[in-house]
Symmetry: C2
Subunit: 456 residues, 2 copies
């Protein structure tokens, strides 16, 4: 980096401009196993500073990678081409809570969980709650269009973002969207920016919709002797007019893993569904009755359980929550992807995953969000075996190929980032990829924001 | 238009290529009072034809304006710069009904009402139902991101579009989105295209989400002696966790107009709210009880009525539905705009509208969707009075200015089109307008698709 550029950056950020090796290493990794050293780390405190920084970066053609708490699974926050790591961790405050419109303006660096705690006393919550919610930021959640278990009923980030404050590559500060529930003046820039993986502009603030906390909820566990029947059941429930908050599934291998590891009292089954419903007390009652009624008609159900106490609820969720931590008992290596298929193809995809598992002789453990066809695929291998390692990556290739064949997507929640670049073109085609590149150029002509990402 | 270009177009469309004056006049207008003659009208029957057409238009630099049934309120379907009128009216079929995923692929020219009728036997419906639903097409609804009375609970078009088939300016056929409930691979082109007013690409097919028909519904009428209290009540209902399907309001002048015209038995009030709730029978019961309970605590309510029969329901809705047709009794001229403000600013905006009415000595009648701050403003004037006509347009200017000052939008449903171009920059600013232009260029470098629209 040119010395005078660095000097100008230091003038803006003073002691919040970090150039020592230790700091740069601290900001060089995320939840992938990749590591790229930024040339400099800056900790922005307000939008004006971000704007000033972008003007310098744009002038001197220095890559800028925005970053929250670095919890991403696809390398989105990594300075692959060096340059500036722009951390928004200090921009973590609520700017305005608007109870009348049930909306809140927050800074991009605010942690999802902190927001939830902030609005809870007002009887409100922010529905998108990715598993990382205790440490991932709203800005990162927006950049990746994060989901979470509640997506069946409440949707994903893009359904809850009303507007953004952004800084363009040339330093222009701009507000997209508004508090208006309907607003069709101009293109929907807000939706375009959600899920753009921090490549189009720097998101500095966000206007979020909130929702009244439900009065009650209930957890139900259904065990099936046939995965296909479990998947079909999900559709039958939704078609009946019951929209659960969450419909999670755990496959046979995942059940076995948890049984072995925890000595857990889990039903012998091909698949388990865990369903959560919420709403007013009577709504919850009614939804539970409907699911019970539908279950009685389904002969493949080998066990039906409604949690009556908080403890029983926790026990049911334990099976789901324990999978990731117990996977290490199978093997030390894990390739973990978040493919998604149309809900109707869920059972078929699971069958194909089982075939791939046999082909490469590697355990593949699957669980995830049955309500929206989102499967967390875990290919297990021993890292000290070259053959297993090579096969694991080959198997993952096959997984993406089969997923795309079924009309699925290579990513439901985690983004493309730097780790799935090779598969993006396979999914969307060359012409569409070229169009994305032209859109990126419309925002960032010199390609300085996250220049290594998404093959853009 | 060059003769060889026209010849090539005729070769594709044969007798579906219309060049006679009468046909061109038939396709020269929409629901505005504007009229622009296209040079040629083509009636496409499939996507391949659209692609072939675009290649020719792009090569010879001929403007192309896509068109459904021409019901738009802002001139979106008008060939302002002549060229080709591309009618999609013959592409009006269901391509695939996917019950398992509760989705449907339809051609862009399908009329919204026809789709509703098609899916009803399966116990499903498509929630967005703009007032024009009996004659407006899905393609047009998507281009304008249309809303409708049900938007409070069910949202607008963009909430129900999962994917699109589009044809780019250069003839490239492309599919955006997928049946995957979550899909974050690449930028969200689908959302960008929804509401782009037919300026970025030609939409030929759409993948729509469907929803189970509710079991029951109920209509409630609340009359207030204070418009502000009525607006506050809307928020209180929503904060209580009750999300009605529709919350419509009728202001004092609108009540008076309907009373005079129909001799209707309407309460003497400053404002009337009409609320519809839906869901299972018990949900509807519970929501109605909640609204009743909240209403008892509000002293400004002068009348409370729950429809017990279909006839009573119709009577309540009559007040709302009769406003537009009865307005002519006030004056023959009407400027009708669909501004929107944050829900919390609704009462304030109504007050400002009343001031503008006094300033120009013209009646302004307001009604609309209180649940989402969307006001249909009707400025009434006598067309034979030059002074009133001039003042009506001045008043409309003031309306937009005041709306923008309150953080509102110049359009909640109808789009910017050619009629509100002067106000778009006022609302979103010059920098954002420039960005929109660059995005348009990324899709359509020669600016042949709807070249006169949105100052792009």
């Amino acid at each position: 980096m040119k010395a005078n550029a660095l000097k100008k950056i230091k003038d803006i950020f003073k002691d919040r401009c970090l150039t020592d090796k230790l700091s740069r290493v601290q900001y060089s990794y995320d939840a992938t196993q990749n590591m790229f050293l930024p040339d400099v780390v800056v900790l922005a405190e307000n939008t004006r500073e971000v704007s000033q920084l972008m003007k310098i970066a744009n002038k001197y053609n220095i890559p800028v990678v925005p970053r929250g708490w670095g919890s991403g699974f696809t390398g989105g926050a990594l300075n692959v081409k060096g340059g500036i790591c722009l951390s928004l961790e200090k921009m973590d405050k609520v700017v305005e809570l608007d109870l009348d419109n049930m909306m809140v303006w927050v800074e991009a660096g605010m942690v999802n969980y902190d927001l939830q705690e902030y609005v809870k006393p007002y009887g409100l919550f922010f529905p998108p709650d990715p598993s990382s919610w205790k440490f991932s930021t709203i800005g990162g959640n927006i950049a990746e269009n994060a989901g979470g278990p509640k997506a069946v009923k409440y949707g994903v980030m893009k359904d809850w973002i009303k507007g953004l404050e952004i800084v363009l590559a040339d330093g222009t500060i701009m507000q997209t969207g508004s508090k208006n529930i309907k607003d069709v003046a101009g293109y929907d820039l807000t939706s375009l920016l959600v899920g753009s993986e921090g490549t189009l502009a720097i998101i500095t603030k966000a206007l979020l919709k909130l929702y009244p906390l439900p009065e009650a909820k209930k957890t139900i566990q259904l065990a099936f002797d046939d995965m296909k029947k479990a998947a079909a059941m999900v559709n039958r429930i939704l078609l009946s007019g019951v929209i659960p908050v969450a419909v999670e599934f755990v496959d046979k291998d995942a059940i076995q893993t948890v049984k072995n590891a925890l000595n857990a009292d889990l039903p012998r089954a091909d698949a388990i569904l865990i369903i959560e419903v919420d709403g007013s007390k009577s709504e919850v009652e009614q939804q539970t009755d409907k699911i019970k009624e539908l279950s009685k008609k389904e002969p493949s159900i080998v066990s039906f359980k409604i949690a009556k106490t908080k403890q029983e609820e926790d026990e049911i969720w334990l099976a789901r929550r324990s999978i990731s931590p117990t996977l290490k008992q199978i093997a030390d290596g894990k390739l973990n992807e978040d493919i998604v298929v149309p809900r109707s193809k869920l059972a078929e995809m699971i069958e194909r995953l089982q075939k791939i598992s046999k082909k490469y002789n590697l355990p593949i453990v699957n669980f995830g969000h049955a309500g929206d066809g989102n499967i967390h695929v875990n290919i297990m291998y021993h890292t000290d075996s070259k053959k297993e390692t090579k096969n694991a990556f080959k198997a993952m290739n096959d997984v993406f190929d089969e997923c795309i064949k079924l009309g699925g997507s290579i990513t439901g929640e985690h983004g493309v980032g730097i780790t799935k670049q090779d598969f993006l073109e396979k999914q969307i085609g060359k012409a569409q990829l070229e169009l994305l590149k032209r859109i990126k150029q419309a925002f960032d002509p010199n390609n300085i924001i996250n220049p290594a990402k998404m093959r853009l």
